[in-house]
């Protein structure tokens, strides 16, 4: 965190705050879905479908700031802020957020924090999904379920991570970049370098 510019830290924190709210909104949305699926005994499945949204800030922050730790810390902040605004999930949420952040960070680390193409972002979404699923297997007791359901929930969560975090995260960041507000950040430098190389 020493080499970070202050504005990068504050940007990451602001993203964490904004998405903490998005996360809480999706939590409520998930509750609605869950009540629909409750009678057939698949209530927690509702959350699996939209689970990817809870990884999105990792993808966006890492894609914009492009520094080691951006994926992890942004998710951690979103977790802390949800506790600050009084999410009933409490300190457990900070732990879950840290675990999800680590999952995404691991993928960026595997590419030495240098590659931020769409496949890598999608892989980071999938990475967060895999690690968080391993955690929920124990914490939420999914391990007590039949293998068919365990596997199908896993697949749905990974797909959700790829699409709702990876794809949607990149799309949102690119739209944001197009407005010009990210001129002072790595995402913009990377794009301008590429286009100047094309020109020469």
């Amino acid at each position: 965190m020493k080499s970070w510019k202050l504005k990068e830290v504050v940007l990451m924190s602001s993203l964490g705050v904004v998405f903490a709210f998005v996360y809480l909104a999706f939590f409520l949305f998930g509750q609605g879905l869950r009540n629909l699926l409750l009678p057939i005994g698949l209530a927690p499945f509702a959350y699996e479908i939209i689970f990817g949204i809870w990884f999105i800030v990792s993808i966006i922050a890492a894609y914009i700031i492009r520094r080691p730790g951006a994926a992890f810390f942004s998710e951690l902040i979103a977790g802390i802020v949800q506790v600050l605004v009084g999410s009933p999930a409490g300190p457990m949420l900070i732990l879950t957020a840290a675990i999800q952040g680590l999952g995404a960070e691991a993928v960026f680390a595997a590419f030495r924090w240098r590659v931020y193409t769409l496949p890598v972002l999608m892989a980071a979404g999938a990475g967060a999904a895999v690690v968080s699923y391993a955690y929920h297997l124990f914490a939420s007791g999914y391990i007590a379920l039949g293998p068919g359901l365990i596997i199908s929930m896993f697949i749905v969560r990974v797909l959700s991570g790829i699409l709702l975090a990876g794809l949607l995260g990149k799309w949102l960041s690119d739209r944001l970049e197009a407005t010009g507000v990210l001129r002072g950040y790595a995402i913009h430098h990377a794009r301008t370098q590429r286009s100047s190389r094309h020109a020469s």
Binding site: W4, G16, Q31, G41, P88, P91, G141, A144, L176
Partner: protein
Amino acid sequence: MLQQLNPSVKAGAVLVPSILLSFSYDVFTPLVFLFLLLVFTWTWSGMPKKKWLMLFSPFFIGAAGFAWMTMLYAGDGYQSGEVLFSVWHFEVTEGGMEAGISLGLRSLCFIALSLLFVLTTDVTQMMHSFMQQLKLPPKLVYGIMAGFRFLPLFRHEYTVIRQAHRVRGVEAERTVSGRLRHFRRFAVPMLAGAVRRAERTALAMTAKGFTGDKNRTWYKRERVEAKDWVFAASLNGALLLVLAASWYFGYLSIFHWDAGRSQ
């Protein structure tokens, strides 16, 4: 009173039982622990019972959802005993029922534990403690606190964007694709606003001499005192006692392995 405890120790004290509890799949352990948590909450937190119940009761649906799913779809390892009843082509066995109820109760324990923390902790105190006890970098903590103060501004910004849309004749959307377009029209300007504000705040912080250096003074000292450890020890001691009792009476099961003393 829980309000005066150190937030870092309190968070840890609440987190450890949540993790320990994740290994038990019997009904006895979470049920007794939940009961003890209620006693803790009502004697120590100083919170009105009615308010607490209002916050806690909605989670019964979630707990029921967990329990019901586990009952219907329990894995082979957790199926045991007689078939109690069947729904469509699902057969609910005693073992599946036990695992289901256990998971439902466990999720209620999680909620009770975190309410114990969330409802008794001051935001600023928590961030200061995270910085002083958990050694989170000041850059990060002050960044979060600054971002957190933006919340009312975000709400204001949302209203402004909505009004701007309305003035230009943008109708409320009802279809799914319309909702998606609606989402984009709000998400991008709001994020752009957040980025701009973050940049301005960072500049202001630097201008006022904030370097993010760890050797700094604190306007508020957070300390860890004996009472913090008393709280942590009694909460975790309570769980250990419950686990021991559960083992002694032969109820305890860790995953689907019956760890309880055989009768």
